[in-house]
């Protein structure tokens, strides 16, 4: 058997391949992205794609299930918010081919705007939930998820967390088992979610869940490890391994893989075999609440808390009061916050916006969220994917209602976000006559998640050339008669574009267009900038563009040639003409 060190995400991709999955759709989002980045290697056996957003991805995968094949969709935890609509109804309708939705949660918010606990989605949507603890389980449990989906006629929520997705551990690979769809037959009673059908489907969902609850007692994904009768721990996901390291060796474990519906009889039986029972779970007390409700005495959240990632040392400290031996070396490191890369096209845009103190700017999720950081400080809010346009719309309407006239409102989002859920906001602004200027920061890639293609890039997940949807065509089609396209690296042109949009008598939108410098398939114009120290007066205006390549040395600006790419944004803001560019 082939053994490989795989991340959880790589193992999920492998699991989809081995399970005979044929249709896969996703929108990228940390920590889920690498699942789909690892699917094209199996493209001779399965179809995989980047969808414009998570709702689309879920619907595509569910459609494939209705047609009879095994299907997969994957998203980060907040993506499930976007996809929730089809997920809830798919539970009522049920499946034909097995249908699995991967929800990758991000405790501690390494790369997220909140740390919502998506286990509650499984409960609310009335669907089975499976939680793997390591890469081997990511692969094996995913295969089991398809069996469970088909056996109980329900979609399965496959819930991971960052540490499971991004940690690597050793996996024994298996072979692909082909899953052949039965000949397609229309089944309107099952798949048309009309009120009458839905009314009749609800009891079926409850019945399926009851069967699943019964199955949970003997399900091989749940296992008991009896090592003693003093202490017992009920746990799941990565918390299992934290508890294994934190608790004494004679601790017994009920390690759950199928966590919705929670196998409460199994837990009760386990509880009866130990003197003291603990529940170790990250984030909310999802299992503990249900155990308390069932009258099972246990300790968990009162000790462990419901915020941020855990680790063995944290669990040990909170449960047993054993503090880790921390050495204070007496020197404190200063923060090293992420910043827009040297040469990032977003820099020229945000620098321009930062010069106007009357601008109110609603931002969005992506690399350009960093436009809100010092020294650019050019954002008022960031809420969610697609929220840039529409949050700005609400602010503009509020200013109108309050008679505030000295503010100018902008809504800002990226190219991938535009296709994700910015388009509906663009329609809203035209339809309801919003007094604001929508701006698309088009760097021709989905940047923050590590360069995935989208409907505007001209390529698809499988690396093939795809129809390239032009953002300007979409905006013009919506009624933006004045679409201004500008290169943000030219600060004069950038400022002019903003002024032109504000003075436009026709409905205006701005597309700020320059490809991300990290896109490998594009030949970029790379140079390097140098400071003439005889001309530099140390005014630090260049520091104001927030470029990691510029620092102050002996009261003069200095540019690190290892980092500089010669974008000249700093040179354009230098009042002394002290910065010049040469070819690299």
């Amino acid at each position: 058997m082939d053994r490989k060190l795989l991340s959880g995400n790589e193992a999920i991709a492998r699991g989809a391949y081995e399970a005979g999955v044929k249709v896969c759709s996703a929108y990228p989002g940390t920590p889920s992205t690498e699942i789909f980045e690892n699917l094209p290697q199996y493209k001779d056996s399965l179809y995989c794609e980047w969808a414009p957003n998570e709702k689309v991805a879920t619907e595509v995968a569910y459609g494939a299930s209705i047609a009879g094949v095994r299907s997969l969709c994957a998203m980060k935890h907040v993506g499930v918010n976007v996809a929730a609509d089809p997920i809830f109804t798919a539970a009522y309708n049920g499946v034909n081919g097995g249908f699995v939705i991967v929800s990758a949660d991000d405790p501690s918010m390494h790369s997220s705007q909140n740390e919502q606990d998506n286990r509650y989605y499984a409960k609310a949507a009335k669907i089975p939930m499976i939680e793997p603890s390591d890469s081997q389980e990511c692969k094996d449990f995913l295969k089991a998820a398809y069996e469970i989906s088909e056996q109980f006629d329900l979609p399965v929520l496959f819930r991971t967390v960052t540490r499971v997705d991004h940690s690597k551990s050793i996996v024994t690979l298996g072979e692909r088992t082909e899953h052949v769809a039965p000949p397609y037959a229309r089944n309107t009673r099952k798949y048309i979610s009309s009120p009458a059908n839905a009314y009749r489907n609800h009891p079926k969902v409850e019945e399926n869940l009851n069967k699943l609850r019964e199955y949970g007692k003997t399900c091989p994904l749940n296992r008991v490890e009896m090592n003693g009768t003093k202490i017992g721990v009920v746990t799941a996901s990565i918390a299992y391994y934290y508890a294994k390291d934190a608790f004494p060796e004679d601790t017994s474990f009920l390690k759950l893989g199928l966590t919705n519906p929670l196998p409460i009889d199994l837990i009760r039986d386990f509880a009866s075999k130990v003197d003291e029972l603990y529940v170790v779970e990250e984030l909310e007390g999802f299992m503990e609440e249900q155990m308390h409700a069932a009258g099972i005495a246990c300790k968990g959240k009162e000790l462990i808390g419901n915020m941020y990632e855990l680790n063995p040392q944290i669990v040990k400290e909170r449960v047993f009061g054993v503090k880790p031996e921390i050495t204070d070396v007496g020197v404190t490191a200063v923060s090293r916050p992420p910043a827009l890369c040297p040469g990032c096209p977003h820099r020229g845009f945000f620098y321009t916006m930062s010069k106007h103190k009357n601008f109110v700017i609603a931002g969005d999720i992506g690399c350009y969220t960093l436009g809100g950081s010092a020294p650019l400080n050019a954002l008022d809010s960031v809420v969610c994917m697609g929220g840039g346009f529409t949050v700005a719309m609400g602010m503009a309407k509020a200013f109108e209602a309050e008679g505030v006239t000295d503010k100018k409102v902008f809504g800002v989002l990226g190219d991938s976000t535009f296709f994700h859920s910015g388009m509906t906001g663009a329609a809203e602004i035209v339809y309801n006559n919003g007094n604001l200027i929508p701006v698309v920061l088009d760097n021709s890639i989905t940047g923050m998640t590590g360069h995935q293609d989208n409907p505007g890039t001209g390529f698809n997940l499988r690396g093939e050339i795809a129809e390239k949807i032009r953002i300007e065509d979409v905006l013009r089609g919506y009624g933006y008669k004045n679409v201004i396209i500008v290169d943000p690296q030219d600060l004069k042109a950038m400022e002019q574009a903003v002024q032109d949009a504000m003075n436009s008598t026709e409905r205006a939108a701005i597309i700020v267009r320059r490809p991300c410098l990290l896109i490998k398939r594009i030949k970029h114009d790379i140079g390097k900038c140098t400071v003439d120290t005889t001309k530099c007066i140390g005014c630090k205006k260049c520091i104001g563009v927030g470029c990691p390549a510029i620092l102050v040395e002996n009261k003069k600006a200095k540019i690190d040639h290892n980092q500089c790419v010669g974008c000249t944004v700093c040179a354009q803001v230098c009042p002394m003409g002290a910065i010049s560019r040469e070819e690299k």
Binding site: K168, T327, G546
Partner: protein, 194 residues
């Protein structure tokens, strides 16, 4: 087999800590250890502080460690050694690249690079300090700095005989950089005194 050991590789995004971890992991797997490795992706890739944890032993449970639990910290930048010092066991070892990289907040003049990072580490832990970047440059390319540090780490942990590391490096790095990286490994190894 021993109980689980843990290494923390820290630096700034883009310094090559991932390749170092890969060489380490490949060797440990060949030597028959259970291995787990964890890294943080996402926003931290863009000029931020990055860390990779590698754990090995007969059976590894958690893929991550918390404070006071690392056997060794390999710091690709000296302020990062200080940042992650609280992860080291009191008798832990630090391999530190004597190299200073300003953060964007320092470059912007919002704060200053802390003084005395190396001295602070040396007064609390067993440290091996080297100028890995200069050593790498003298060998032909600053890019092999990560393998210089890897050589020091192997020596510092006394893991020379766990596996034929030169062979592992030769098979892990791109073929055209093989000789350079082997030289880097030896140089890093020899920079650590008993």
């Amino acid at each position: 087999m021993t109980k689980t050991k843990s290494a923390l590789l820290v630096g700034v995004g883009g310094q090559g800590a991932i390749l170092t971890a890969k060489v380490l992991v490949n060797g440990l797997m060949e030597a028959g250890y259970d291995v787990k490795m964890s890294e943080v992706h996402g926003m931290s890739q863009r000029g931020g502080s990055v860390s990779t944890q590698v754990l090995w032993g007969e059976k590894v449970n958690s893929p991550v460690i918390g404070y006071g639990a690392a056997d060794i910290v390999v710091a690709f930048e000296k302020m990062e050694a200080v940042r992650y010092a609280n992860f080291l066991k009191p008798d832990g070892i630090a391999v530190i690249n004597d190299y200073e990289m300003a953060s964007s907040s320092i470059a912007a003049g919002l704060c200053e690079y802390p003084q005395g990072c190396l001295e602070a580490m040396e007064s609390h832990f067993k440290c091996h300090v080297l100028k890995a970047g200069e050593i790498a440059e003298s060998l032909g390319s600053a890019k092999c700095m990560n393998i210089v540090l890897f050589g020091s780490m192997v020596k510092a942990l006394g893991m020379d005989k766990v596996v034929d590391w030169e062979d592992v490096i030769a098979r892990t790095v791109p073929a055209k950089f093989k000789e350079l990286n082997l030289k880097a490994y030896r140089a890093g190894h020899d920079a650590v005194k008993e």
